[in-house]
């Protein structure tokens, strides 16, 4: 056996072993990790909701138990075929629906509503739903830019003690996570971002699941003040594929009205 053969004989098992050890994935995010995000005009959003939970958590000394209290608020926008829509938020819950040539504007909370012969009375409510959606999508786009900045800047320039941004790709899904920590000796602030995007149209990605979690821990007491914001966004290739299925008979509907201004405010809220 020559010395070269001996060397190969020794190296080969090591190569085999190390080649087996390359299965996990994920990496530190860099400027090249960021994908092209679809513009709002390129996609059809079927639904988007934002849930926000704000509260206080108390951690015991043993760290084995946590008591947590919080209040949850949310708003949600849904779009269907035939320009049907739903909007719900702290200011009300409205459904716009067209069926057999009639247009219905319904209060989902009180199960009351009006029937119209034209679509016009539904337009302002639909516009409001679109405005909320635009606001949410813009917030997500801004957050995406923030994560880009985090990935390409040092922690000190961002005002944190440490910033760690990771990137992962699995199938048609990409995920960005950013963990930023700032401690001043009295409190410790931790901001965690989780952005997940799925491939939508023309190889561009669209936001689907986003979580923002901010917690401020008072070091002396272990009390954590937290705020969790979570977005979920669903896109469709075509609205005609999403029919709004619900039963009109469960609503008390006033017929024959075509003038929006004549609707009592007790019936419709949230405009």
């Amino acid at each position: 056996m020559t010395s070269t053969m001996k060397t190969k004989f020794l190296i080969l098992p090591i190569l085999v072993l190390t080649s087996c050890a390359t299965g996990s994935f994920g990496e530190k995010a860099t400027s090249s990790s960021f994908v092209e995000v679809a513009a709002l005009g390129q996609i059809n959003i079927a639904s988007c909701y934002l849930k926000t939970k704000v509260g206080i958590a108390s951690v015991s000394n043993s760290a084995s138990s946590v008591s947590s209290t919080g209040t949850l608020s949310a708003h949600e926008t849904d779009f269907y075929s035939n320009n049907d829509f739903k909007y719900s938020g702290s200011d009300g819950a409205v459904i716009g629906h067209t069926e057999k040539g009639f247009h219905y504007l319904l209060n989902a909370t009180t199960s009351m509503g009006y029937q119209f012969t034209t679509d016009d009375p539904l337009v302002p409510y639909r516009d409001k739903a679109v405005a909320v959606l635009l606001q949410d999508y813009t917030a997500l786009s801004d957050l995406y830019d923030t994560i880009k900045t985090y990935a390409t800047s040092d922690a000190a320039s961002l005002g944190f003690d440490s910033v760690n941004v990771t990137f992962a790709e699995a199938g048609d899904t990409v995920g960005y996570s950013a963990f930023a920590v700032l401690s001043d000796g009295v409190t410790s602030t931790e901001v965690d971002y989780y952005l997940t995007l799925d491939k939508a149209v023309d190889e561009a990605y669209v936001f689907t699941d986003v979580i923002i979690r901010t917690s401020v821990t008072t070091l002396a007491t272990g009390i954590i003040a937290y705020k969790n914001q979570e977005y979920n966004l669903v896109t469709v290739s075509d609205y005609s594929s999403t029919n709004f299925v619900f039963n009109l008979t469960s609503y008390s509907i006033v017929l024959g009205t075509s003038n929006l201004s004549s609707i009592p405010s007790s019936v419709l809220i949230g405009k």
């Binding site: 087996c20 994935f25 994920g26 990771t166 990409v174 997940t196 986003v210 979580i211 969790n228």
Partner: protein, 220 residues
Amino acid sequence: METKSAAAKKPLFPALYLRKGQWFRLAAIALTVLALVFYLFLPQVLIAYQLYLNTSTAGARDYLFPVEYVSGTTNFFGVGYFTFYLKSSLGPEVLTARQATFNWFGLGLVITAFFAAGLAGWLNFTNTHEKYSKFVTLLFVIPGLMCFMSPIFFLTINQFGAADWTASSNLLSYWIYDSLYVHDAYGAVIAGLAFLGAAVFFGLGTNAEGGDKNDIHNED
């Protein structure tokens, strides 16, 4: 004739002459070293959403998630990244990559294995402390079982999945604790079997050496 026969049986290198039991015990030590190599370099943890039928994660994404082997180096030293889905109790499911952290359980495994191998060598060549042989056999078994427990240790050390409760800062109900997609990778099985094989070899060696003289069965 007898003199000639005795001369014929004399080993060529007397210093290297070992009894059968000693060879078995040396094999146990060699197998332990091999098991350690397997543990440190072969994949130890498998993250496989495709194999997880009762998933609480989004189905369509499960089948596109590559079967992920966490290598021994990532599992032990924490030098690499790994990826998994994290599901919030409020609904959204996010894809996240995390840098692994140093595995203290793994360090315990390695120390136990070295301790077992060292004691085995000591017993093998002193031949006066056989009462410790059962203890040494147990020491070979412990890292073997720990290899099979690699996913549990990995979850605990890296604070995700079912072990997430150990991280109090995660506010308990914030994430859905879902760890059933984390399994033993083939490297954990191979390393575990190698450690258990070492225990068997050591036991065979002890038996061939005459066993523990303090054992009541041997006194019979």
